[in-house]
Amino acid sequence: MTVPDSKQPANFSFAVREAHRPAWAVFGERTLTGLIYLCGISAIVFVLSIFVFVFKEAAPVLFGGKFSLAQFLFSTEWYPTSEVNKRYGVLAMIVGTFSVTGVAMVIAVPFGLGAAIYISEFCGPKVKETLKIVIELLAAIPSVVWGFIGLTVMSKLIVQYTGAPVGVNILNGGIILALMSVPIIVSIGEDALKAVPDSFREAGIALGATRWQLIWRVLMPAAKNGLLAAVLLGVGRGVGETMAVLMATGHAVHIPSGILDSVRTLTANIAAELGEAPAGSDHYRVLFLTGVLLFTLTFAVNLIADLIVRGIRKK
């Protein structure tokens, strides 16, 4: 098992010990190594097999001949159950997903990063512990409960204060999604700031930096990879979240003209319709294709994030 290190002098003492070890010990160790190896590659196996499964379900419609991918991506007409002319265009839902996520990030990023900076740099140890526990509790609230709040509390408030005709809209979904992403951004962001070596802080302080200068000019550049990762994980959460946005955005298929319009997201569409689409039908397969699209989107977000982070690291 042990590979002799070429720099070391011949270490035959290891070899002798290996030879005298009982067979079960050697066998046990090999088994454990194998198991851990399996655990390690299982992530790859799962990702690949999920993708293959979803793609396999979607493939017949994609290659069936009468289906147009361009229409799927760039048409806003979603009439999967029409008797005479079935049309499957998800552009409105793509726009819906991005508008809700966008509003959520506009709210959640400043809030989340602000909270992370406060927890990591400003507050005392007792406040810090309390805040961290409470924020973790916030992350533990099930998404359907958030949807509930959006549907009942938030929608009334929005109607009352903005005069929108319906309270379930982009703003509502965005706020709910923001509240759900803040805990992730805070905890990852706080970890990133905590990982900045204290010697950087001392360097800044000893040069006479104020607290804000220290944060802007020292901590932000030092922690930017981690902070970016925090934001992108928040985006990932926003794109993938289903139940809360299903309940809070109003579920209307059309291109919104403002943040007080109702929209439908890709995820909500799948959740709402998959149960009613007959297995194997075109409708069913198009919903799986929507799944492939979502998968591709989140994959692209992650890949871009990874490339940005790598780019920063190299420089």
Binding site: F200, A203, R217
Partner: protein, 258 residues
């Protein structure tokens, strides 16, 4: 030599506690202007603590209590009207491990200028000039002039430590505090930093904490020996090493403990 050389740093009855532990006990010290003074003593004797009092960087930990007086250039730095920011601008510090900021070489050198001046007061030309001057003075210009946009944390340790000294210079500090600046460096790096200290001496008062007695002996003009939070002896370096007045000093420099 003039009869009364001007003093840079004086302390009177300086006591310091980390929570309940007293790290400095009635320290009275007079550090002269424009020379290199070294602080030596075994681990835990308070030499780093004393150094970190001079720019009040100790206070970032909430559990530190300080009593007594520290005068820098005649001004008590514990007076309520003292601005910590101005104090730290005129007292630069070099740390044990080189800690350039994770930004470019150029930005590291102008960091101090940027935080102490309004953006409108700084022209690109002024910044460029300051960078060239500071890097030339620290002997880095030749090696780094084509790599000003490289990340400072990727440089060799010796260059990093020189850069940490270079970034102090644009602020025109009166005093430079060095906390074991060579302990992370090899022999060549140590020699380079010591040569740099000699080059800077005269214009700046340099106080250096060192574990390395040979370094104190060859690189400092005056030497302070501390033990268990107390100042035991302060004299010219050659006197301290050749004819120490206090028997504890003699035992330490002979290597009986520490």
């Amino acid at each position: 030599m003039s009869d009364t050389p001007p003093l840079s740093i004086t302390t009177r009855k300086l006591n310091l506690w980390y929570a309940k532990f007293q790290a400095l006990i009635n320290v009275d010290v007079d550090i002269k202007h424009g020379i290199i003074t070294s602080l030596i003593g075994p681990s835990g004797c308070g030499k780093t603590t004393l150094l970190r009092c001079f720019n009040r960087v100790n206070e970032r930990y909430g559990y530190v209590t300080t009593t007594g007086e520290i005068k820098l250039l005649g001004k008590n730095i514990y007076d309520p009207d003292v601005s910590l920011i101005e104090l730290r601008k005129s007292v630069g510090m070099v740390f044990q491990r080189p800690n350039p900021l994770p930004i470019s070489v150029y930005e590291n050198v102008v960091f101090g200028m940027k935080i102490h001046h309004e953006r409108s007061q700084l022209t690109r030309a002024a910044l460029d000039e300051a960078v060239e001057k500071a890097l030339t003075e620290t002997g880095l210009w030749k090696d780094l002039k084509d790599r000003l946009d490289h990340r400072a944390t990727a440089l060799q340790l010796e260059q990093q430590q020189k850069l940490c000294i270079a970034r102090l210079l644009p602020l025109k500090p009166e005093i430079i505090l060095m906390d074991e600046p060579c302990s992370a460096l090899d022999v060549e790096g140590t020699r380079a930093i010591e040569e740099l200290m000699f080059a800077l001496k005269g214009r700046y008062t340099i106080v250096i904490v060192t574990h390395n007695m040979a370094q104190a002996r060859r690189a400092s003009d005056e030497c302070i020996f501390m033990l268990l939070g107390e100042l035991i002896e302060h004299s010219r370096t050659e006197d301290l090493f050749l004819k120490p007045r206090n028997p504890k000093t003699a035992e330490y420099i002979e290597g009986r403990y520490g």
